[in-house]
């Protein structure tokens, strides 16, 4: 896995490469949910301490794999919460962000991770 553009959250990876993403919470009740654009009407919640692990598959049209991660924040003040993230590719490469998201009141911010598969 290679970081193509860290601000755009654009990555490239090899066909069949596994990507493992872990998150760490600070000053909030745990709440991470995610959905892949390729999965119609499906979403998942992530248990604290477990990673999102998925395999990159090359598509016939060459389009990317898109993962939407939603960060839920729950505390009394609406401020001060955050999540850190760590991403590792099974064929090497990693990407850390501290924090990946900061709390924004009771908004549920989203990071869209885009993976180009070679």
């Amino acid at each position: 896995m290679v970081v193509v553009d860290e601000l755009d959250l654009l990555f490239s990876g090899a066909n069949n490469e596994f990507i493992t993403m872990t998150f760490t919470k600070h000053n909030t009740v745990w709440g991470i949910t995610f959905a892949f654009d390729d999965e119609e009407d499906e979403a998942h919640s992530l248990l604290e301490g477990t990673p999102i692990k998925f395999q990159l598959r090359r598509k016939a049209d060459g389009g990317p794999t898109v993962l939407r991660v939603f960060f839920h924040f729950i505390n009394a003040s609406g401020t001060g919460g955050s999540y850190d993230s760590n991403m590792i590719g099974s064929r090497g490469g990693s990407f850390d962000e501290v924090p990946a998201r900061r709390q924004e009141g009771d908004l549920v911010p989203q990071n869209i991770y885009t993976f180009q598969v070679s």
Binding site: L7, D61, G63, T79, I112, T114
Partner: protein, 662 residues
């Protein structure tokens, strides 16, 4: 005699003030019809030349109010139309939908007319607006570069819009100005529209710290941008009941001195502690016999050390999550009270050791009002696994619908709607010119500049293009609806949590001048009986540190209760609270005077009642408590007694977080 008159006057003032607040809350808002008539009447009369400016200004105000109401009606009609859509509808049903559409068209037309009238007369009142806005001049939009279709010029100013994503309009700020640093600190005090703009501004500044040329990045900022756009578009009119209690509305923090101190306005002690330093100056006396001025400083040891170490409010809070020692002391507070009537210069606060009248220590050992409490973990897990996932499905589906299909050559998210894409490109071009200074102040300035660009650009959002693009409109509306459902479900849990119990213990060492010092041990319990009300109970025992000759070691025991009623923010100062308190005290022996003499026949029961109004000054950490206390007698005199008190309390948490939030 004079003092009795003053007391009576204070009482009347406080009661009148309470009535004004309650009245202000219950006053009926003008209706659409009323505003239309008032505008027509004003237009029909040529104003007196001296009153021309006032005439124009009043007309503008009425037009703004009318437009706000019509925008609400428009949203309501749009919502009805959306909900009532049916593929195989009967002719009668279709007729009704057509009438709804017709009605919607008329409302839109009236709004457009009002926008035109407002724009035509804006210059007449512009100078006055300028007086209340503190924002720098926003960067000019490249009007020439924007397609004509992208410019619904009469679109309402972002600052004047009240929307579904807009739970409460910041009343203190009618011109729509807001300080994003205050929003970051107390987001629940502000509308989601404001949250969207401020958090988007912060995101952009964060991006700029990594790449100065960047602006809005959809991969990271789509939620904030959509929230801000929804606020502007007024698509959905679901009224926001999802405000949480604000820091300034918290009724569980005790900053002032306890009831025995001179000059205190408190009859009952509250359970919460300030995070850093609270200061209270209160004049009068709630239950003591000698009135005076007591100044109380209440410290949170961890917070104060962090403040001295120049560590940010939030950083500090975050770091001690993994430190049991810090976690313990985060729940404590230490208090020092000074009696300004003591010392070499009575009446002047010197802060000298001779003026110290009490030390106190408080520890909050049960706090069920923290949503992070272990007790609620399962409930939150269930919430995320069900409502969180449901919301994610809706959000992911609709964000995807807002975006173009990704390809190998264009893998990054882009809006599908062309006008919106152009608008975003223009906005990012304007944002590209903003630089972020290396200091905290530089960052704040950049946030203000970004915020100004966003507000300016939101005012030229291609509303018509969006409204005519069914797929985009539907995606935005569905997202808003899903978010509302999610927040409503979250609020149900938070409401239950707000009724949780807080239990604290407080020890106070009262330092006396001519009589033995005393130790007071107090248990404090708080519980929310429902709604946003708060019930507090105290039980305490006071002992002489050294047993006086011929007297009991135990001086007194007391029980007290208080009921707090949040009044909302009718005057735009912040969340006020009205409190009703009562206290019973049993004096085990005849009381000692300050001079150390025994007052005969003073042993026995004392009952107090109190009405207290606390008014915060928004964003300053200052609170002004006014109270009236009634008693069957005082400790030294067996006569009925009525006292009025006022003062101010100061919670440094607010100021510190504002100066250095991170």
């Amino acid at each position: 005699m004079k003092s009795r008159a003053l007391i009576a006057l204070s009482m009347v003032s406080v009661l009148l003030w309470s009535c004004v607040l309650i009245q202000a809350q219950t006053q009926a808002a003008p209706t659409v019809e009323q505003l239309r008539q008032e505008i027509s009447r004003l237009l029909a009369k040529t104003p007196d030349p001296d009153l021309k400016a006032a005439h124009t200004e009043t007309l503008q105000t009425l037009r703004i109010q009318l437009r706000d109401l019509l925008l609400e009606r428009k949203g309501d009609l749009q919502g009805q139309l959306r909900d009532l859509q049916s593929a195989g509808a009967s002719p009668a049903y279709k007729d009704y939908l057509a009438k709804l559409e017709d009605q919607l068209g008329k409302v839109k037309q009236e709004i457009t007319q009002l926008d035109t009238d407002l724009a035509n007369n804006a210059s007449a009142v512009g100078s006055q607006r300028a007086l209340v806005t503190s924002e720098p001049t926003p960067v000019e939009s490249p009007a020439t570069e924007t397609a004509a279709a992208d410019k619904p010029v009469p679109a309402p100013k972002a600052s004047e819009v009240q929307t579904a994503t807009d739970p409460v309009t910041p009343a203190a700020d009618p011109a729509g100005t807001f300080d994003c640093n205050e929003v970051f600190l107390h987001p629940f005090n502000y509308t989601r529209y404001v949250e969207g703009i401020c958090f988007l501004s912060r995101q952009i500044v964060d991006h700029k710290k990594r790449d100065p040329t960047r602006g809005i990045i959809l991969s990271r900022d789509e939620v904030e941008l959509v929230i801000a756009m929804l606020g502007q578009l007024m698509i959905d009119q679901q009224k926001a009941s999802f405000l949480l209690e604000a820091e300034e509305a918290r009724t569980d923090k005790q900053t002032g001195a306890g009831p025995n101190a001179n000059g205190t306005t408190s009859l009952v002690i509250k359970g919460g502690v300030p995070s850093i330093l609270g200061m209270a100056v209160e004049n009068g006396a709630a239950v003591a016999d000698s009135s005076g001025t007591t100044i109380t400083f209440r410290f949170n040891p961890v917070g104060t050390l962090e403040a001295l170490a120049n560590k940010g409010y939030i950083t500090g809070y975050r770091e001690d999550q993994n430190n049991p020692f810090a976690r313990f002391f985060r729940k404590t507070s230490l208090g020092v009270s000074f009696d300004a009537s003591r010392g070499s210069t009575p009446g002047t606060f010197t802060g000298g050791a001779k003026q110290i009248s009490a030390f106190s220590f408080k520890y909050v050992f049960i706090n069920e009002r923290d949503p992070r409490n272990q007790k609620y973990q399962k409930r939150w897990e269930d919430f995320i696994a069900t409502k969180g996932v449901d919301f994610t499905k809706v959000a992911a589906k609709n964000f995807k619908a807002l975006e173009r299909v990704r390809t190998a050559t264009e893998p990054l998210p882009q809006f599908k709607n062309e006008a919106l894409r152009t608008w975003l490109k223009n906005t990012n071009e304007l944002l590209a010119g903003i630089t972020v200074g290396p200091t905290f102040t530089g960052e704040q300035q950049a946030i203000t500049q970004v915020q100004a660009v966003l507000k300016k650009q939101l005012a030229v959002l291609p509303v018509k293009d969006i409204e005519s693009d069914k797929s985009t409109l539907e995606a935005l509306t569905n997202y808003a609806s899903g978010f509302k459902t999610y927040l409503d479900e979250k609020k149900k849990i938070l409401d239950d949590i707000s009724k949780g119990t807080v239990v604290s213990f407080e020890y106070t060492n009262n330092r006396e001048v001519n009589i033995p010092d005393t130790s007071n041990f107090r248990f404090i319990a708080e519980k929310g009986p429902g709604g946003r009300f708060d019930l507090t109970a105290n039980g305490s025992l006071t002992m002489f540190n050294k047993k006086p000759a011929g007297m009991n070691r135990i001086r007194d025991f007391q029980f007290a209760g208080q009921f707090d009623v949040p009044l909302g923010d009718p005057l735009g100062f912040g969340q006020s609270a009205l409190s009703f308190g009562g206290r019973y005290e049993r004096l085990m022996d005849d009381a000692l005077t300050v001079a150390g003499t025994v007052m005969p026949k003073t042993k026995g029961d004392i009952a107090f009642g109190q009405v207290k109004l606390t008014i915060p000054i928004k964003g300053t950490g200052l609170k002004l408590p006014f109270s009236v206390t009634f008693a069957n007698r005082t400790e030294l005199i067996k006569e009925r007694d009525i006292r009025g008190n006022f003062g101010f309390t100061f919670d440094l948490d607010t100021i510190f977080a504002k100066l250095k939030p991170f």
